[in-house]
Amino acid sequence: MSQVFVVFAYGLLTALATGLGALPFLFVRGVSLGVVARANAVASGLMLGVSFGLVAEATQYGSWQTVAGAGCGVLFVLVTQVALRRHNLEFGRIRGVGAQRMLLMLVVMTVHSFAEGVAVGVSFGGGMTLAVVIVAAIAVHNIPEGLAISAVLRPRGASVVECAWWSIASSLPQPLMAVPAFLLVEAFAPALPYGIGFAAGAMVFMVFVELLPEAYEQARRPNVALLVSVTMLTMLMFQQYL
């Protein structure tokens, strides 16, 4: 029982770390179209980097499963898009397309946390020895994910506190999924490639269908491209060395 509590507590800790991603936006003032475009480019780079890393991991469990999961992830985003368009949404004070994009980003990142939670639980199932290392690693990895979420929310008018809160909320599925995955490793391990594939497919699709087109509309193309590719490279290195 105490181990279950430890897994949950560690999972919660990693979720809280996501909120740190909002902190850089304390220093970003002004909410202009140019800021939206650059923030989109940064979020795109972060999400592409995360996804490349995730896919590389998932294909080690099984290639078919990863691709099938990714296909479901894409479908999920398409369906969510349609559902969000049907309603006249409000997100705090924000309405219309901006609110749709913010909500879609939150949905995609929250769903991706489910897969990450399973990954945490399964890795704990291998024994508690490496646990602290794994938790520290995941907590650190969550910070840029919070950054990506805040990059989409903040320039559209959410406050820094709201960004931090939504970032943490999007990571809450992690502790919730980590516990059952830890208790039932045998049952959850085969689902891992599907889940990770799903998360990666949804994030990459989100980048190509929402974030990049908007970035190219509002900022000069060399700047967008440079921000995306350098952020993506930084994220890949960050994942591997920290």
Binding site: F52, T59, A70, V204, P213, S229, V230, L233, L236, M237
Partner: protein
């Protein structure tokens, strides 16, 4: 066969296949803009898949020289475009193009295929199957790129057979860089992570600077994203499944 000749054969075949890109113009003199958009997206997805394949290739983690190589690849593309005045060139204009537009488009295409040549060359140093697979993926991607280039130059009054020839000629730098990279990395194996990173970084950046901005102007973002992801998914699946190593 002499390994360098193998690289020559594969990269030449990949470049030559680009000429097939002109065939859709046999059927319709002017392609619908959405078709050009999807061609770009298809090319982009295949390039991203190849870049992914290079990055995860049997490596536990990307070594630091690989990261520096990738940064060099990104900056190489960025700077060559900036100094040649083509950084913000609208690459797919069909109408009312200025006289200098023709050479600018060919220059951009030549620079674009140079990076892909590095990818083929470095993949060939890994193993013949992986090199052949990379050459095949680049070859398939050369077809939609050939279509886009043919559409642009025929709109400027170039006859179709010549357009097909230009689509191949624009890929000559692919052959050249494939052979040079292969020879250099074989002679000095320490260059391997640098060349690998360079190719991956340059290709990702080319997708972002050449292909994606054009696609989104030509077709809806949903169809573009779908075409890109499917093309990328196929390559990632083949690489990840260990079909080629």
């Amino acid at each position: 066969m002499e390994p360098t000749l193998v690289v020559l054969a594969y990269s030449s075949a990949a470049a030559a296949i680009g000429g097939l890109g002109a065939t859709p113009l046999l059927i319709r003199e002017r392609l619908p803009v959405t078709a050009i958009g999807w061609s770009n997206a298809l090319a982009a997805g295949l390039m991203l898949g190849v870049a992914y394949g290079l990055m995860v290739l049997g490596l536990e983690r990307i070594p630091l020289p690989g990261a520096f190589g990738a940064l060099m690849g990104i900056l190489f593309v960025h700077w060559t475009r900036a100094v040649s005045g083509t950084a913000e060139l609208d690459l797919n204009r069909l109408d009312e193009t200025p006289p200098e537009y023709g050479y600018q488009v060919l220059l951009v295409n030549a620079l674009h295929s140079a990076a892909e040549g590095v990818a083929i060359g470095v993949a060939m140093t890994v193993s013949l199957p992986f090199g052949a697979f990379t050459a095949l993926a680049i070859a398939v991607h050369n077809v939609p790129e050939g279509t886009v280039l043919s559409a642009i130059v025929t709109a400027r009054g170039v006859r179709l057979p010549h357009a097909a020839g230009l689509a191949i000629a624009a890929k000559v730098s692919q052959v050249l860089l494939a052979i040079v990279t292969f020879a250099l990395v074989t002679a000095a194996p320490g260059l391997f992570p640098w060349a690998l990173g360079f190719a991956a970084g340059a290709m990702v950046h080319l997708v972002l600077v050449d292909l994606m901005p054009e696609c989104y102007k030509q077709a809806g973002s949903t169809s573009i994203a779908l075409v890109t992801l499917v093309a990328m998914g196929i390559v990632v699946f083949l690489v990840g499944g260990g079909v080629v190593r």
